[in-house]
């Protein structure tokens, strides 16, 4: 005999979880006596560490004053950072000209906001500004020309130099990396060999040695009197180095795209570059976002290695400050400050990438 359901089962609310805050605590932290002990010990350790860190950095810290003598409290001496703040931010960039750097920051921030923000619908002009006009503008603004006093790059330093190194390298590495990745997958043997050779060579060498090559070896090969600026050499080295990494990241993304996508694009009459630009790359780069940003973050922190060739980025200028005889014994403050600055930048990049991943996720969005 057939069994037939005639009435539809009514919608019921999901089972009430018996958790709540107390329930959650009981289940996850105090479920057995061993767990209870572990929880209490952990709380004690965390509280010890956090409270001494907070009291060192904030409660007992010294914020007011001009010299080391003003640091009378037991905590951190932030007066040190404050007194040398200008140098930490701009290096030896002459003080009356620092507005040029600030103007560059403001324009860059506006440009980046317009390009990245969700609110702006038409991104054509912001993108042209940020990727076309802005770099040229910055060159003249920072270096000089058109009536602006020339500031040699040897005077650039601090966070300013770090940002210049990082943004130029990122700006060059991504497009170059995409080109290398496409070249590595090319069916033309010569192009493929050049790209594979470049990627494998550069990836197999430490960044420090690339920087050394760029700053020490390269001038030896150039004819007398012919010389690039030291900063330019570091930029070229870092850009090429990160482009090789970027190429492998992008290649990973490209390989994750099913063959059917290219076939569908071809069957509609789209040529190779159109199919790449509209269909394959947008999807491949989306997949690769976490790794791309990972590479960016790594690159951003790797800029500190330029201290080895005598460029004064944020870390090296703060480090130099700690050996100032007026400020001896304040290395901890200096390094904590550097760490905090790096953390702010890297964490922002990380959060942006997570936001972007969610935004571009079209697969199962309801």
């Amino acid at each position: 005999m057939a069994i037939v359901t005639t009435e539809r089962h009514p919608d019921l609310p999901p089972p009430v979880s018996q958790t709540g805050v107390v329930g959650w605590l009981r289940e996850n932290l105090f479920s057995s006596w061993l767990n209870t002990v572990l929880t209490l010990v952990s709380i004690y350790v965390i509280w010890q560490a956090a409270s001494s860190a907070v009291s060192w950095a904030f409660i007992n810290a010294n914020f007011v004053g001009e010299t080391k003598a003003d640091c009378t409290g037991t905590g951190a001496c932030w007066v040190f950072i404050k007194a040398r703040f200008g140098q930490n931010m701009y290096g030896f960039y002459p003080e009356p000209e620092r507005w040029r750097v600030n103007l560059g920051y403001v324009m860059g921030a506006v440009g980046i906001f317009l390009v990245l923000s969700d609110q702006v619908k038409n991104k054509k002009w912001p993108a042209i500004f940020l990727f076309g006009v802005y770099p040229v503008l910055c060159y003249f603004l920072f270096y000089g020309g058109f009536g602006l006093e020339v500031i040699e790059t040897s005077q650039w330093g601090g966070l300013f130099l770090t940002l210049v190194l990082a943004s130029v390298s990122i700006f060059v590495a991504l497009p170059l990396g995409i080109v290398l990745a496409l070249g590595r997958r090319s069916e033309m043997p010569v192009i493929r060999m050049i790209c594979v050779g470049f990627i494998e060579l550069v990836r197999s060498v430490p960044l420090i040695s690339v920087l050394f090559m760029a700053s020490v070896m390269l001038p030896l090969f150039l004819p007398d009197g012919q010389n690039f600026d030291k900063l330019v050499r570091a930029l070229v080295g870092m850009s090429l180095f990160s482009a090789a990494y970027m190429a492998e990241v992008v290649r990973g993304g490209l390989q994750a795209i099913p063959k059917g996508q290219m076939e569908a694009a071809n069957s509609l009459g789209l040529g190779f570059w159109q199919a790449m630009g509209f269909i394959i790359l947008p999807q491949a780069l989306k997949i690769a976002i976490p790794s791309i940003v990972n590479t960016f973050i790594g690159l951003f922190k790797d800029t500190t290695l330029v201290l080895i060739i005598g460029l004064l980025d944020l870390l090296s200028i703060v480090k130099g400050g700690t050996t100032d005889k007026n400020w001896l014994g304040l290395a901890t403050e200096g390094y904590v400050f550097v760490a905090a600055v790096f953390w702010v930048f890297c964490f922002s990049m990380s959060r942006y990438s997570i936001w972007l991943e969610n935004k571009l996720h079209t697969g199962h969005k309801r």
Partner: protein
């Protein structure tokens, strides 16, 4: 065009395959394929898996390269000339087993991308055309969704609309219903039947024998890289000539 090609060219033919061979490495996949498809003709290709059906139709728009023989589509011979390949691809639409929609673009953008960038049609006009075809496949209300939000049957109908937006003269279907859940097959077949009724030239690789009986002018049976038998559907199903055809038909009709 060479003299030989001129001689063989049938002005009324939409597609001509003349003595075509293809190898994958050492493996001889397609052997001496000769097939002429007239304009407006509807052809169903069937055969066991691995018989070269898909490979054959994929050669027609150069997703696969043939190594010997001639393929003439709409009077244009397929060679390594990229311009000719593009010209043919513009006239030949293709629907894939796994839809191959572009997941990062909306349904509407899927349909307008090629018309805008390949045919250089203004965006507004392309969107209007796209909506017309989406209405034809009965899913205009899904235009702003992403492919991942649609069911398999809906996705395949979008794929058909996407091809139609290029105004192709020939449509190739590569097992369009094989990846679909059973209850979604008929909605896709209905779309294909209405297309056939309008006189579109179609080559369809499928195992849907009901569809073959309803719309095909000719059924082609392939096995091991060769065309074994071709006949009008009634004759093909009621009175197959070759032993291999009989065996194949007994297998699929038995299971059906």
């Amino acid at each position: 065009m060479s003299d030989a090609a001129m001689k063989n060219t049938d002005d009324n033919a939409a597609i001509q395959l003349i003595g075509m061979h293809k190898w994958y490495g050492d493996f001889h996949v397609l052997r001496d394929i000769n097939l002429t498809v007239e304009r407006g003709e509807r052809i169903v290709v069937c055969g066991p898996s691995g018989s070269g059906k898909s490979t054959m139709i994929r050669c027609i728009n150069r997703l696969e390269e043939h190594q010997q023989g001639q393929i003439i589509v709409d009077g244009i011979e397929l060679t390594n000339d990229v311009k000719k390949i593009d010209e043919i691809r513009r006239e030949v639409g293709m629907v894939f087993q796994h839809f191959n929609l572009f997941p990062h673009l909306t349904v509407l953008e899927n349909c307008t991308l090629a018309p805008i960038w390949v045919r250089k049609i203004p965006k507004a006009e392309a969107e209007e055309t796209a909506m017309k075809f989406l209405e034809r496949v009965k899913i205009p209300e899904q235009a702003l969704k992403y492919p991942g939000q649609l069911s398999g049957g809906q996705q395949q109908r979008v794929a058909i609309a996407r091809s139609l937006c290029m105004n192709p003269r020939i449509m190739l279907f590569d097992e369009p219903t094989s990846a679909l859940d059973p209850e979604m097959i008929s909605e896709v077949l209905d779309t294909m039947i209405s297309l056939a009724e309008e006189g579109m030239t179609m080559i369809c690789v499928t195992h849907e024998m009901g569809f073959a009986k309803t719309v095909a002018d000719r059924v082609i049976f392939m096995d091991q890289g060769e065309i074994i038998e071709q006949a009008p559907p009634l004759e093909f199903f009621d009175n197959p000539q070759s032993e291999r055809t009989k065996l194949f038909l007994s297998q699929i009709l038995h299971n059906a």
